[in-house]
Symmetry: C2
Subunit: 245 residues, 2 copies
């Protein structure tokens, strides 16, 4: 993994800020759409429906959305998964009131008949190895700082019990991991798939390559900009929004 | 073409309004990102870079953006084409002041070093068969009503002179065509590729299948919603955002 270029949580925050600043002018809505799409594409690449039985195709993808932007990526991802023919269910226990846009993302999921569970619903009913294809962990991203609070602490403890039987796809940072240091706090998930957004974070060097498939997604950075932050752009193919590292 | 389901300009306007209404809650920024991406994917499918010489890869894609949403799709498309490795140039003669977002789309193109030409620049210099791969016609969409005014009338007349030697990719509605009636007004382009967004419009039944490759793109409609408007969803494959019809 020595050749893998990573950027620290501090630099990742600067990159995000500059991308959405007055010079470049990306909006959160655009970047979230592309990020969520890329996570959905990674799920599709890792767990293709092609050739699967109807029973297999009917399995749930359990998307857990946290309260911030990582959760927003999860909401967008769930919508695209539904469009791709999957059967996502979203658990969104702590909803952001920060912007109207998060509510709109939920309306969009309603429109596509994707169930969005609230904190008090029986979310564990949807987490059974025989009927759950995978879990999308969109709880916390690069701005997470331990300790983890409830309800997420309890949720992640449940995920840890299930992760040997239901593969977890983590968005950008596996939940519970320190962005720079890796899995130093408890509880922490051990994802089967990690989708790094824009560029891998230092924690990604702690994944066990035998266990975890690593993708990068979020294809919206030109070379000069990447170089300025000390990394190279990735060799995405054709119109792909993800690349297996 | 008798089995092709189309919706009139009137219904297309209602679909757009409902998609961005309070119930469903899509934003213009989201739909434009997905629409522009799908047009870029159609260009990539039709004119793949793979196996091309460096000279071929260096050819321009000339994107002409109109003043409204069709133009916005073109601006987004140009950015994705650049990311996919193409060499787009945007001609944006009449810039929308309607929202800040259109300015941001131009900032994003500046960020990716995609030239954005103003009305008084020598745009014809970029339209040479030997150095132009194709033209993306993102001038007018389903809300266009003739007669066409300047500067677009003159621009489309130039495109008509060139279109036998440089293929035109039209976004949703070939410029100059009546959305419902087809190429009844002058000037009208004769595209080599038509990318219908969401669902084909009636004018698309007037294309000559021998000359024009027809894609549908903009994959953000569930089946129930399509049925309500009298059409079926399209059989997109995997994560594709376009389907060749």
């Amino acid at each position: 993994m020595s050749t893998l270029k990573v950027v620290s949580s501090k630099l990742a925050a600067e990159i995000d800020k500059e991308l959405m600043g007055p010079q470049i002018g990306f909006t959160l809505q655009q970047l979230m759409e592309l990020a969520g799409f890329s996570v959905a594409q990674a799920v599709c690449r890792q767990f293709p429906l092609k050739g699967k039985t109807e029973t297999e195709k009917g399995k749930h993808i359990f998307v857990i959305a946290g309260p911030g932007n990582n959760g927003g990526d999860g909401l967008v991802c769930a919508r695209h998964l539904k469009i791709f023919g999957y059967n996502p269910v979203v658990y969104y226990p702590k909803r952001s009131d920060r912007t109207e846009f998060y509510k709109q993302l939920v309306h969009q999921l309603n429109f596509f008949k994707v169930p969005v569970l609230s904190q008090d619903e029986n979310w564990l009913d949807y987490l059974k190895p025989e009927k759950t294809l995978c879990i999308v962990d969109a709880i916390f991203g690069f701005s997470f700082k331990p300790p983890m609070r409830e309800p997420f602490k309890g949720i992640v403890e449940e995920l840890c019990k299930l992760q040997d039987r239901i593969p977890i796809v983590s968005v950008d940072v596996p939940t519970g991991w320190d962005v720079d240091e890796g899995p130093i706090s408890q509880p922490s998930v051990n994802p089967a798939v990690l989708v790094s957004l824009t560029v891998p974070k230092p924690c990604s060097t702690h994944i066990d390559e035998k266990h975890t498939t690593h993708y990068v997604g979020g294809r919206f950075i030109p070379r000069d900009f990447a170089n300025k932050y000390g990394f190279e752009t990735f060799g995405y193919e054709s119109t792909d929004q993800i690349l297996k590292l």
